[in-house]
């Protein structure tokens, strides 16, 4: 079975996608070589074609795509010419795939171990009994808790990080020669990400499996890959060994990727003694029995940005819902410029509603797809200020200029005719249209590519300085916090763990949980993960290292 040459050899791969009536190129002539036991990192922005290339290495194309030219060889087998039958015998047995969403990739109606053993038994690699024992060994190797019994749970009974590790174990079940990892940790919190990264790297090294690791996160790929290939709009930009690539990128595009997050807003001291929004002792929950927030208090001053950070489930979005009045708190109150706001938005006056504006994470669902930009931005202006006709148009043009979009070009467009970053700018303009002093930004950059996200952060910063706005910035991304925050509030399980000015938060000593959070953010240093594992001890990565809040 073993032969000389590279395991995967792709030459001049061209893939096209069907758009309406025409085939448009998605991948424009990419070469790829992968030796046995080697890990190749594929990076690029969304639309760069990295997933398409990764899937093509398995001989697979998505619906509506076709291989227009080039060759794909896996261990000497021509995958372009191979029949479905031949590919089926390879997939799962010699080539495996780990998807971004493990929750969506497991069948919720079957136990983990039954899904694990299906492949080996079907391919005749192993028997049910042997495969089950192997699964338990793999679970132990991947440091899943209770490896003998965890496999007998259903997917919803384990956490997201555990599920992603179980998925990796499943990919290993036939001891494949190649595993394609498609953004396996993108949907996970930083503290969970670490344990999955460590587990993947450990098992890939142990079995000498070759891997293609697709991600948009440079710091992650620095930990995982031996070699890095950078893609841009379906073409290769450059490829080099990880260390050489990190130390000395050759192309301008790669340098710009490396340089992002250079933007940093100088920390502003509070300009006024009176907070614009103050959250005082708020306790709230969605059902009568349980509280999601426990006695949360913090203040936001005019012209300042308060970043609220925490993992998913920490209650940071719930704070926003309390401030907007969508979720009336059980105890405590929200004060605006010193005066208490009615708990529910339904009891707030038009002017009180105007004062609290929101920008959403998903610009796709935040803008009505059937309304034109002029109506989306114009409606708050018309609603709050009663402007009509020419005056209204004038104001919309002004707002579009503020968010750096050419008014004549964009005023009559529909949201579907804008890019992701442009949509997010429209969301910002809608919040500005209300002339509010306070804006809640709920993960506004997490769905965007890094370069686009940086543009949005700069825009928000400029508007803040010009209009003296106060932001509450909800995020799980600590790099964003570093760039834009004046004050930081760290939340865990509905409690404020630590709060204070940014410089204090990023210099030790920290609260234990803040420390865990900060040290879990991957750095652009190939030795970072090794160092961290050494510091924490192999058994103390991720969840095991969790410290309960005090």
């Amino acid at each position: 079975m073993q032969s000389g040459g590279p395991l995967v050899k792709i030459r001049d791969l061209r893939i096209e996608g069907l758009a309406g009536e025409a085939w448009l190129p998605i991948v424009k002539g990419v070469d790829l070589d992968l030796a046995r036991g080697e890990v190749l990192g594929l990076i690029g922005e969304s639309g760069a074609g990295k997933s398409t290339v990764g899937l093509a290495a398995m001989g697979f194309t998505r619906d509506g795509c076709r291989i227009a030219g080039g060759s794909i060889e896996f261990d000497g087998i021509d995958l372009v010419a191979a029949s479905e039958e031949e590919k089926r015998s390879l997939l799962g047995r010699r080539i495996a795939y780990v998807a971004q969403s493990a929750a969506a990739s497991f069948n919720p109606a079957h136990r983990l171990i039954d899904q694990h053993t299906e492949g080996p038994v079907l391919h005749g690699v192993s028997t049910q009994q042997a495969s089950q024992e192997d699964a338990m060994a793999l679970y132990a190797r991947l440091r899943l808790p209770e490896p003998e019994s965890i496999g007998f749970r259903y997917p919803h009974q384990v956490s997201g990080g555990q599920l992603q590790r179980a998925m990796t174990a499943m990919a290993m079940s036939c001891r494949p020669d190649l595993i394609v990892f498609d953004e396996p940790t993108t949907a996970l919190d930083v503290t969970t990400q670490i344990e999955v990264l460590a587990a993947i790297r450990d098992i890939v090294e142990q079995f000498g499996t070759a891997a293609i690791y697709i991600t948009h996160d440079l710091a992650v790929v620095a930990q995982m890959a031996d070699r890095i290939k950078v893609l841009l709009r379906g073409s290769e930009v450059e490829e080099n060994d990880t260390r050489a690539m990190l130390a000395d990128p050759q192309k301008d595009y790669t340098k710009s990727l490396w340089a992002v997050r250079s933007f940093q807003r100088p920390e502003q001291p509070p300009r006024s003694a009176q907070p614009v929004i103050s959250i005082a002792g708020v306790t709230a929950g969605y059902s009568a029995a349980t509280d999601v927030l426990h006695d949360v208090s913090f203040d936001i001053y005019p012209g300042q940005t308060v970043a609220v950070v925490g993992e998913s489930g920490s209650g940071k979005s719930t704070v926003a819902r309390c401030i907007t009045g969508l979720l009336p708190p059980r105890q405590g109150e929200i004060r605006f410029n010193g005066a208490p706001l009615p708990a529910s938005y339904q009891n707030r006056s038009k002017d009180q509603l105007r004062q609290v504006q929101m920008i959403y994470q998903m610009a796709d669902t935040a803008l009505n797809p059937k309304l034109r930009i002029r109506d989306i931005i114009g409606r708050p202006v018309q609603f709050y200020r009663g402007l009509r006709g020419n005056e209204l148009r004038q104001r919309v043009v002004e707002l579009l200029e503020q968010i750096e979009l050419e008014p004549a070009l964009y005023i009559d467009r529909l949201p579907s005719e804008l890019s992701g970053g442009q949509k997010q700018r429209i969301g910002i303009a809608r919040a500005l249209a209300a002339d509010a002093q306070f804006i809640i930004c709920d993960e506004v950059t997490s769905a965007l590519d890094q370069l686009v996200a940086e543009g949005i952060l700069k825009l928000l910063d400029r508007l803040q300085n010009e209009l003296d706005l106060a932001y509450m910035f909800i995020t799980h991304d600590l790099a964003t916090v570093r760039a834009i925050a004046d004050e930081v509030v760290v939340m865990k399980d509905g409690n404020v763990v630590e709060a204070g000015p940014k410089t204090d938060m990023f210099t030790p000593p920290h609260h234990d949980y803040t420390d865990l959070l900060l040290s879990s953010v991957p750095e652009m240093d190939p030795d970072w993960l090794d160092r961290l594992l050494e510091e924490r001890g192999v058994d103390n990565i991720g969840e095991a290292a969790r410290i309960s809040p005090t």
């Binding site: 907007t324 009045g325 969508l326 938005y345 707030r348 038009k350 509603l353 105007r354 609290v356 929101m358 959403y360 998903m362 669902t365 935040a366 803008l367 009505n368 797809p369 059937k370 309304l371 409606r379 708050p380 609603f383 709050y384 809608r430 209300a434």
Partner: protein, 312 residues
């Protein structure tokens, strides 16, 4: 022979018209022509038939050879017996071609009004239930469940007996009964829309119910509702025809297809004696009903295919 003349031939002509029409529109450059270039023959046929019906319904007074309830001495004429009466006459001596044209005008017009009314009621309540939720949603939804549990035709018969037969009453009863199904759809579609962030943004802006429904929700729900309108129209149309057939739908002297089927149904007995031409007479209005139903379904299928899915 009669079957060939009166059914197969017109059908072939319609299909041919659809083919030629589509070919003609296809040659138009630009986005208007592109719609037709991507159109399957079934949809072209459906559109051709529907336009043909609408034309006939609107222009009935102009193209019908005689008055709607004009009575002649020659009754019970078979098609082709007298060149003055192309399709023959009925048992009272009224020209069948005239009755068929006016019947289409009445039935289609009334069915359209009824469907529009059903949509007005159903969609309004559906969207309100979706936006407000809570006890109001529960009350309206459960009431609709009860209404839907009772067989529609029997319920309509019962209500018409209670309120008395008139065209207005019939329109109201059918519209209310049919609005339950529209309500279900509008509430489901609306329910998917109200969870969107742009609805939350509108709520937090302090917008009223009217703006919410007509500016934020309706434009996003238009495609599925429009498709449903076509299907609903068919069902309403069939229900009116059924009620007329039973004698409590559209009343004489107004012509309508359901009543015509009933009145001509006596001829079915002629099949026993091998007189196929006479026996196929009641099939004339019945086929008119069937053809329209099929055509609308073709059209709606195409619209659903075009306006749903990932494109929008």
């Amino acid at each position: 022979m009669g079957f060939l003349t009166y059914f197969v031939l017109p059908l072939a002509v319609l299909i041919g018209l659809a083919w030629i029409g589509r070919a003609g529109f296809r040659s138009i450059p630009g986005p208007f022509g592109a719609v037709f270039r991507a159109m399957p023959l079934t949809a072209a046929f459906g559109l051709a038939v529907v336009s043909f019906y609408i034309l006939a319904a609107v222009a009935a007074p102009a193209i019908a050879p005689y008055g709607e309830s004009q009575i002649f001495d020659e009754f019970n004429l078979f098609p082709g017996e007298n060149p003055d009466f192309l399709l023959g006459t009925d048992q009272l001596g009224r020209d069948l071609l005239t009755r068929l044209l006016y019947g289409g005008r009445n039935t289609i017009g009334i069915a359209f009004m009824t469907t529009a009314l059903a949509f007005l009621i159903g969609a309004t309540f559906g969207f309100i239930a979706a936006v407000l939720g809570g006890w109001l949603d529960q009350v309206v939804s459960r009431t609709v469940d009860v209404l839907m549990a009772i067989p529609q035709l029997i319920f309509a018969l019962l209500l018409l007996t209670i309120f008395g037969q008139s065209t207005i009453n019939m329109i109201l009863v059918i519209a209310v009964l049919d609005s339950t199904r529209v309500f279900r759809l509008a509430r489901a579609v609306g329910g998917n829309i109200v969870v969107m962030d742009y609805i939350e943004a509108a709520k937090l802006r302090g917008e009223g119910l009217g703006y919410m429904i007509f500016r934020e929700i309706l434009p996003n729900a238009a495609a599925p509702l429009l498709a449903e309108f076509g299907l609903r129209f068919c069902f309403v149309f069939l229900l009116i025809a059924a009620l007329s057939f039973l004698g409590i739908g559209i009343q004489p002297p107004l012509a309508d297809w359901g009543t015509m089927v009933r009145e001509l149904s006596i001829y079915i007995g002629y099949a026993e004696y091998g007189d196929w031409q006479a026996a196929s007479l009641p099939l004339l209005p019945a086929a008119a009903i069937a053809l329209l139903t099929v055509a609308i379904n073709f059209t709606v299928d195409w619209m659903l295919d075009r306006y749903s899915g990932l494109k929008d």
